[in-house]
Symmetry: C2
Subunit: 288 residues, 2 copies
Amino acid sequence: MRNVTKDNITDVFTAYLGDDTDPRVREVLGALARHIHDFAREVNLTHEEWQVGIEFLTRAGEITTPERQEFVLLSDVMGLSSLVDMLHSKPEATSSSVLGPFHVSNPPPLAIGGDMKRDFEGEVLLVEGVVRDSDGAPIPHAEIDIWQTAPNGLYSSQDEEQDIHSFHGLMTTDENGRYAFTTVRPVSYTVPSDGPVGDILNAAGRHPWRPSHLHYIVSAEGYRNLVTEVFPDDDPYLDQDTVFGVRDDLVMTYVPQAAGTFPEGFEISGSVDDAYSKVSFDLILAKG
Amino acid sequence: MRNVTKDNITDVFTAYLGDDTDPRVREVLGALARHIHDFAREVNLTHEEWQVGIEFLTRAGEITTPERQEFVLLSDVMGLSSLVDMLHSKPEATSSSVLGPFHVSNPPPLAIGGDMKRDFEGEVLLVEGVVRDSDGAPIPHAEIDIWQTAPNGLYSSQDEEQDIHSFHGLMTTDENGRYAFTTVRPVSYTVPSDGPVGDILNAAGRHPWRPSHLHYIVSAEGYRNLVTEVFPDDDPYLDQDTVFGVRDDLVMTYVPQAAGTFPEGFEISGSVDDAYSKVSFDLILAKG
């Protein structure tokens, strides 16, 4: 192996792996090296381009904090995060979609029909649905961790003006698997684009926008956890989500409702006399 | 493109690229995304493994400083740095080999036959050779930037005990293209293995050793710069360099010389009466 060449280096890499290496480590590292080598050979990567890559990673490291994860964002805009989701999504369940970096721990409990809108302004949206198994049977006592942007396009963890738990809630479905809550319509927003990942988007002629969505983590005993998002069918970024999160079965219609029809069973902190919208979205879990 | 799937995501990525995107950016980013996606699909990358990758990059970012470049080290041990070298090495010239992170700016001038050993202990080594073009003609006034480890296995930039310019020198070849200097035999050493890249080496059952070498950057007007290394043919790590730097034409014999034969034309700070070794290594530059 002394004479390493551009044609044998992948074999040399594999030969270096220890005999007692964990088989999965061998598989993943071997494939990673082969794809890195194939990439470099295929594009005939130059020293200058390599240097750009090193500087990119260095800058991403510098900007990353517990609140700002540039490597996750890189994975998101390269489509890797969504691909990993899709590889492990169950066909009999609701599609999974990116977790993203904005989920916070210990969300406050939210009763069925509870008000997540609180004192925020914005178009009122009623959300309801049933958590079901893949045969259609309701799952009682399932837990739904819900979060979304405030009307200003920011998640609570990005916005010092917001309480850390604003637009976060933890709901448990009733005996019929039903969940329901009052909120304001989430808005389209941009991923952080003032760092090195933003520079990639710029160089690629891409925008940093995501279509608006409600974000859920659904869990129930005996079922696989589901991380997913619900998108409205009229969002202008639906067909160009910069993190590749949209799946057909996650797109729903927000149905406009006339003023004065605000239903029983939903709390609201503001007026019940205005027009609002309503979306119904069932969540199907795979057995775990 | 709304319904992104694991099978179409690479096409979606390509479709997102702007119409005015620089063709080379399009080529490199497109190939990078395709290989990342193929890698993830091929090994069926799990969320847990993805998380390990994100944590690895985050830790690499945290440990990286101007003196400690963990991303370069990652590229080195994955074979990418060497592959980029080899892709742009000219067959008519001496093979190039990894620059590594230990070169320092503004090396002190070193006269032909000068002493780079200074007051360090160790086996005395005389190094000489001729810088030539690919037709064999000597290149006068070529510049050779030389650096190596101290006998303790550390480069000056790693070792507070050393002057930053110890074992660094900048030489200009004479009218006959000749260079020559006195040093101590460099030693095998380990790349930094106390960080996340060290964890990869451990998991892969690999060691962090590099065979000993002299490091050169050779430049001359009208020729391509050459970054290379010279290895002795009896180094125990010659066939398993952890950064894949060894090429057949860079391996030379350090020829033992009897005590009392120290030649004219070489300076030395210590005794001229002991045994020593000598290596001859011509450096061939491609026209630039």
